[in-house]
């Protein structure tokens, strides 16, 4: 025996793998993502035409939360940060997070990474509802009014109820559900177009502005509602992540044999994701691709286990929309490109890449 002898080769493959290697890293990734999300969101508040550094943002937030004396020379900056930038950025984050969560759930339940809540026709239906309300009030109801929001939400929920009702009554497969969604998307887009055709100049503009999807008129009320839905949905969905894993990975039959009440879980979770999507659409208009791309990025970073994928998608979706909106209001400043347009520019190439690089195994 000499000292130069190499260790036996066979030891490597036969050695037991290190204790839970893949499971250890994911909480760390999740925490890192959370810190990153907070930092980037904070930084996005500072971006814009009016000068406001990180220190100003911090001071403004401190004043708003804990109170204190507002110096006169800081009043304008304070107002911009607290009344304009912060609600805008937070609404973008909440909307992105909610859409991304809805996307993860839809993709898992329908076992298809190419679907999003919009695939079921939720978004075009909401857009039609909003356009109808705008038209009937002669354009006097803007995109922020409760009438428009209520009409968009009502239409989206009614359409999803019809789709899901049909699906459960006829025991439809996921593929049929998607085809139904495509048909409804076409129908509602045509109906919205018909409304635009009969609308006068002002109303038309109001409708078009709404269909772009933006967080331009964000107020604290919008942030509260959308944020509350997104934050409430996360723990609720996490509670069902075990069942979601069984359905997504093993399929309906095997999930049933693993003790999951597949039908009830599916209907319940689809309702949650439709409500999330409908709430966002009714407050911010039509913002596509986040529900598709947010989960995809999250899956690349942390894997497909829903216990980690759900919270991480919350972060990626939120960040994606915050960044897209910041880009939209800075590249052509002082004009603002609606976030729905920016996100489509980012989302479309990612989506195409997703289709082209899809594993052959998934067919």
């Amino acid at each position: 025996m000499t000292l130069t002898q190499t260790p036996p080769r066979e030891a490597a493959p036969d050695a037991p793998p290190p204790a839970r290697p893949a499971w250890r890293g994911r909480p760390a990734v999740l925490w890192a993502g959370t810190v990153l999300a907070v930092l980037v969101t904070g930084w996005c508040v500072t971006a814009g035409t009016a000068d406001a550094g990180p220190a100003d943002v911090w001071q403004a937030v401190r004043l708003a939360v804990f109170g204190g004396v507002l110096r006169e020379d800081f009043a304008q900056t304070y107002s911009i940060i607290i009344n304009l930038r912060l609600p805008r950025v937070l609404l973008a984050f909440a909307a992105g997070a909610a859409l991304s969560l809805a996307g993860v759930v839809m993709q898992g339940l329908l076992r298809n990474p190419l679907v999003s809540p919009f695939t079921l026709g939720v978004s075009p239906a909401a857009a039609f509802g909003a356009a109808l309300a705008i038209l009937l009030t002669g354009g006097s109801a803007g995109s922020g009014s409760w009438l428009v929001i209520g009409s968009a939400l009502g239409t989206a929920l009614a359409v999803s109820a019809v789709v899901l009702g049909l699906a459960s009554a006829k025991a439809m497969s996921a593929a049929t559900l998607l085809l139904l969604g495509i048909a409804l998307t076409q129908l509602f887009e045509a109906m919205t177009a018909a409304l635009q055709f009969v609308a006068d100049e002002n109303t038309l503009q109001a409708i078009v502005r709404w269909t772009f999807g933006s967080v331009n008129d964000a107020g604290w009320q919008d942030v509260t509602v959308v944020g509350a839905f997104a934050l409430a949905a996360l723990p609720l969905l996490l509670w069902y992540s075990r069942d979601l894993n069984a359905i997504a990975f093993a399929g309906d039959d095997a999930a049933k044999s693993l003790g999951v009440n597949v039908t009830a879980v599916r209907v319940g979770l689809i309702v949650v994701s439709v409500v999330l999507a409908a709430v966002v659409v009714s407050f911010c208009g039509v913002i596509g691709f986040v529900g598709l791309v947010g989960p995809h990025i999250a899956r690349l970073a942390i894997g497909a286990d829903h216990r980690y994928l759900l919270p991480f998608s919350f972060l990626t979706g939120g960040l994606l929309l915050v960044i897209a909106d910041t880009v939209g209001r800075t590249v052509l400043a002082p004009s603002v490109i609606p976030v729905g347009i920016v996100v489509a520019f980012i989302g479309a190439p990612v989506f195409i890449n997703l289709i082209l690089t899809r594993r052959g195994a998934a067919q």
Binding site: P17, D243, A248, A250, L258, G259
Partner: protein, 257 residues
């Protein structure tokens, strides 16, 4: 002390699939469900697995009604191995086997869950593949992962739906050996839907032949295999030979050559 299926009926819309099936598998027994395509053997395993709900009839184990129990409790007694198919999302072998703990765990798997998963992976000879993505496995390996998942479920009854159809000869034999050893060593009752009559004859204690949704033969393979019955059921002339190696079925057409 047995798995009992009594007068189970099932149909899709107006097409009856099972027309009153009765069978009993002794605890720790290894039973083969045989029959031509469309005879209802797959449907029967799915009914026992609670994937499908029968129109009538009962399934019980140790006298306990399996169809009335809550799903989660049923899943702690009965595990089901489907045919392996592609999954839409990436997952490692270990994560896939961990799904078998679904009826046992809350939100987080415990140390014990991970130990059981590791043991199931080792038992199927997948030890070196624990961190391998499922999409990189061969068909035979993927099928063994599904069996490992079922074992991680710690079932008393193991159902397998044609687990060997996609496997090459070596993995067919290995799979059947593993299932047989599980029945022998842990007293698990196994029911396997399978096409190969000779494999069934060699590995199983009991053979149940289904035809048109009814049981036409039931018993130890050597007794249950009857040339006339098999020829009629499969619509093909077969010869059954009984020798020291056990019973063997061959199509007559092959012998003439």
């Amino acid at each position: 002390m047995s798995l009992d299926v009594a007068s189970v009926r099932f149909g899709y819309r107006r097409t009856p699939v099972l027309e009153g099936v009765d069978l009993r598998v002794a605890e720790g027994g290894f039973c083969a469900l045989l029959g031509p395509n469309g005879s209802g053997k797959s449907t029967l395993t799915k009914i026992i697995a609670r994937v499908l709900t029968p129109a009538a009839g009962s399934v019980s184990f140790h006298g306990r009604d399996l169809l009335a129990a809550p799903r989660r409790e049923h899943a702690r007694v009965v595990a089901y191995v489907p045919q392996s198919g592609p999954a839409p999302f990436e997952q490692t072998v270990r994560e896939a086997v961990l799904l078998g703990r679904t009826p046992h765990i809350g939100l987080r798997p415990t140390r014990r869950d991970r130990d059981i998963v590791a043991a199931a992976i080792d038992r199927l000879g997948l030890g070196a593949l624990g961190d391998r993505p499922m999409s990189q496995l061969s068909g035979g390996q993927a099928q063994r992962v599904l069996i490992a998942r079922a074992l991680a479920q710690e079932p008393r009854v193991l159902l397998l739906d044609e687990p060997t159809s996609a496997l090459d000869l070596r993995y067919q034999i290995e799979t059947l050996q593993i299932v047989r050893s599980v029945t022998r060593e842990e007293g698990v009752t196994a029911l396997i839907a399978i096409h190969d009559l000779n494999h069934a004859a060699h590995f199983c204690d009991q053979a149940v032949l289904l035809d048109g949704g009814r049981v036409v033969a039931d018993g130890p393979p050597a007794e249950a295999f009857d040339a006339a019955v098999l020829s009629r059921v499969y619509g093909l002339d077969v010869r059954v030979t009984r020798g020291e190696q056990g019973v063997e079925v061959r199509p007559s057409a092959l012998e003439a050559a």
